[in-house]
Symmetry: C2
């Protein structure tokens, strides 16, 4: 089945990433041909407007608005348009016409991945998507191939550079959430509509993809529990730092067993306290990192740029060359393994630890009452720190009582999230508690 003719690549989209892919395919044509063993020819670029101004000067004769026709003649269709439609229809058309597909479309894969992979498997086509998670960082191939014989136990990942940049500014420069978001917007780390990033939607799509790969299960993005960072305050960040933590927005995928003994997957995105000596704590700025714990391999971390046109283009090019080599080798696509087909369990089944900060009445009996509330829900206390509220004295200690309230910081042992959440609800309903200052999960400890 060896073929020596050239491979025809159709590119859909010429935005930040697409334009760089086109440039690299053209500039490095001969070198890529030597590496792949076959010339890889860019035969056309489908765009909405052929006259638009672009970051990269692309040959006018390659531009077309007729994506359907372009797809029909292609061996490899590279979809970098983003969005659900028409990207999905184009990808299915490409698969239907016998082409292999490269895409960086995380939203599409998180929502319709199962359908697309099934269509590809039926005809033996490949769908590669290294660019969909963590830009240039190789993580899809390591999970799909390198760890194919291992048992992944847990993934803790920083996969949204915008929110990492914001939280890092708050931690390292003392910015408020508002200021950090403003700077992130000015520097291009954040879109004009920051919701997708700040509220964790983007990270949840990536969590779905990582969880599916790691646990050989189809995990839709809608099944991912999602909390964003908008409620995080500078006071939270500073309190975390004093206790030896940094706050990161984590995409988490874990193999867990629920209370009834059902084995399943927990996939969730939320801000979390990470110990300063954890490898993820050193992921600064807009960078991404995927920390994987596997039964045999132990802890692994993959680190690098989480965004950027040319960085993401690197991942796309790697997929194109890999597919080209498969064409030389012959054979059909292998398809995604969903052999385990585990249940996706609700957030309540996850096992985690909470750090709870409360304003409480500073009188005898309060501690016993609150400890009782926790114990009743099966939550045991690991650390407890009470500080009287009031003016700070010259030696830095807060000793002057302020209307008889104190701040109580409770670090719990590991428990089900449902029990921890119920305990927080009961605490906040207690007459002894004036207010709940913050509740954050501790991960990676």
């Amino acid at each position: 089945m060896s073929e020596t003719r050239s491979l025809r690549v159709a590119l859909l989209g010429a935005g930040t990433v697409g334009a760089q892919v086109a440039r690299l395919l053209l500039e490095h044509h001969d070198e890529l041909a030597a590496r792949a063993g076959v010339p890889i020819d860019l035969v056309g670029i489908a765009v909405r407007d052929v006259t638009a101004t672009r970051s990269v000067n692309l040959p006018a004769e390659l531009l077309t608005t007729d994506a359907e026709t372009l797809i029909q003649g292609a061996d490899i269709v590279v979809e970098l348009m983003g969005g659900i439609e028409p990207a999905k229809s184009y990808i299915l058309a490409a698969i239907g016409s016998g082409a292999d597909v490269v895409t960086g479309n995380k939203a599409l894969l998180a929502e319709h991945g199962a359908e697309i992979f099934a269509a590809a498997a039926q005809v033996g086509a490949e769908v590669y998507y290294e660019a969909a998670v963590a830009a240039a960082i190789p993580i899809i191939r390591p999970l799909r191939d390198s760890l194919a014989g291992d048992h992944v136990e847990r993934i803790l990942a920083i996969v949204n550079g915008s929110t990492n940049y914001i939280l890092d500014r708050m931690d390292r420069f003392g910015d408020s959430m508002e200021d950090a978001q403003r700077v992130a917007l000015e520097l291009g780390y954040l879109e004009a509509d920051p919701t997708l990033d700040v509220e964790g939607f983007d990270a949840a799509q990536k969590a779905a993809i990582l969880a599916g790969l790691a646990f050989h299960t189809s995990v839709p993005a809608a099944a991912v529990h999602r909390e964003g960072i908008s409620a995080i305050t500078l006071a939270d960040v500073e309190s975390a730092r004093e206790a030896g933590f940094v706050i990161k927005l984590l995409a988490i995928a874990e193999r867990i067993t629920d209370e009834d003994g059902l084995e399943g997957v927990s996939a969730r995105v939320h801000p979390a306290l990470v110990r300063r000596d954890h490898p993820l704590a050193t992921v600064y700025g807009g960078n991404n990192a995927v920390f994987v714990e596997a039964e045999a391999a132990g802890p692994l971390m993959f680190y690098g740029a989480g965004a950027g046109g040319v960085q993401t283009a690197s991942a796309v090019l790697g997929d194109i060359v890999s597919i080209a080599r498969r064409h030389i080798a012959g054979g059909v696509g292998v398809g995604e393994s969903v052999a385990a087909d585990l249940a996706v369990l609700p957030i309540g089944a996850a096992q985690t630890r909470y750090r709870i900060s409360l304003d409480v009445e500073d009188r005898p009996g309060v501690l016993a009452e609150l400890a009782g509330i926790l114990a009743d829900r099966g939550v045991s206390v690991e650390t407890l720190r009470q500080t009287a509220n009031g003016a700070v004295t010259a030696d830095g200690l807060a000793t002057e009582a302020d209307g008889g309230t104190a701040t109580l910081v409770i670090g719990t042992h590991t428990a089900r999230d449902a029990a921890l959440a119920a305990a927080v609800e009961a605490l906040s309903a207690s007459g002894a508690v004036a207010s709940v200052r913050s509740v954050l999960r501790i991960e990676g400890a």
Copy 2:
């Protein structure tokens, strides 16, 4: 070309890694079959002595001393014996009989990789070797596939856990080199004969493999410049720390251009000063990390355990499942890309920076003389720090002259290694220089 029968795996060697591979293949048989799409059956384990006691209890009926016969009936031959012979002959026999090969044998690949890959390419067999570099850390596949469309510019890697453990103990616990080696030996980080690790032979083999992959060139281990860590003293480590560095044994592969404009590969192993804020500085204990700088992807880092039976077995299992999937898909092996076929350039052509500590005469004119020596060889000075030798005063400054000598620490700008080495030689021959305390390269800045 789809096949649905089972795949027969022959395992050569049942040492620390081999025994774990056997255990995982047997214990996870059904799960691996589901993931690969075909049952993967361990049909035999070739060992020297079937009666030997092993770390894992292996079924006696699988053990054999007849490797040749075992190989003949296998679809996949997994070579974990180590050493050059008979491992090489067995691998060539396996390829000759139509089997694919998985090996973790870095010494063999570094010395005879080109011959083995050529034999495999001729018959369309696969040779996978993720376990040969950095144990469980996926690095072969990311370099070969994920970065296949990018230009790798430089790899800085900590690939020898033993020496990293020793240097880390010196840095974090203030051990002498002798004490650190003793502890490493006691804890099993170091072999009874530490030469392979301490003198950089092991790292040089891995540097050869990484350089070959990254630059699509065949790089023999003998072409790798190699310096070990045995000359590193606690004083070096402490002096480095004061200046904001940590000393690491690095395996380096770089694409460089020599003075005549010849493009080539620099592959070298030596201790180097790494800035404390570089990601490699946080690689503690026996861990490994591979830091890759690519033109499009930017900086990437791959981090994890660098040794261990079960950790390394994870990489081997990943290779076995990948090969099994290829059997399902059909097609032939792609072979290694040596399309670039660059020259391997000598250490003198490398561009680096030196940090040179000298004991010098403390008299007028010395600085001018030494600066002249450097300038004559085209080496320019970036930082200079002179401290009078003598007792330290109460405020921590060394001010009392000690026989009129001073310590001079020179940090250079980037220059060819040949020029830097010549400058050091000329400095040490100067009458103004009492002794050369240490010379270390600065990397990753």
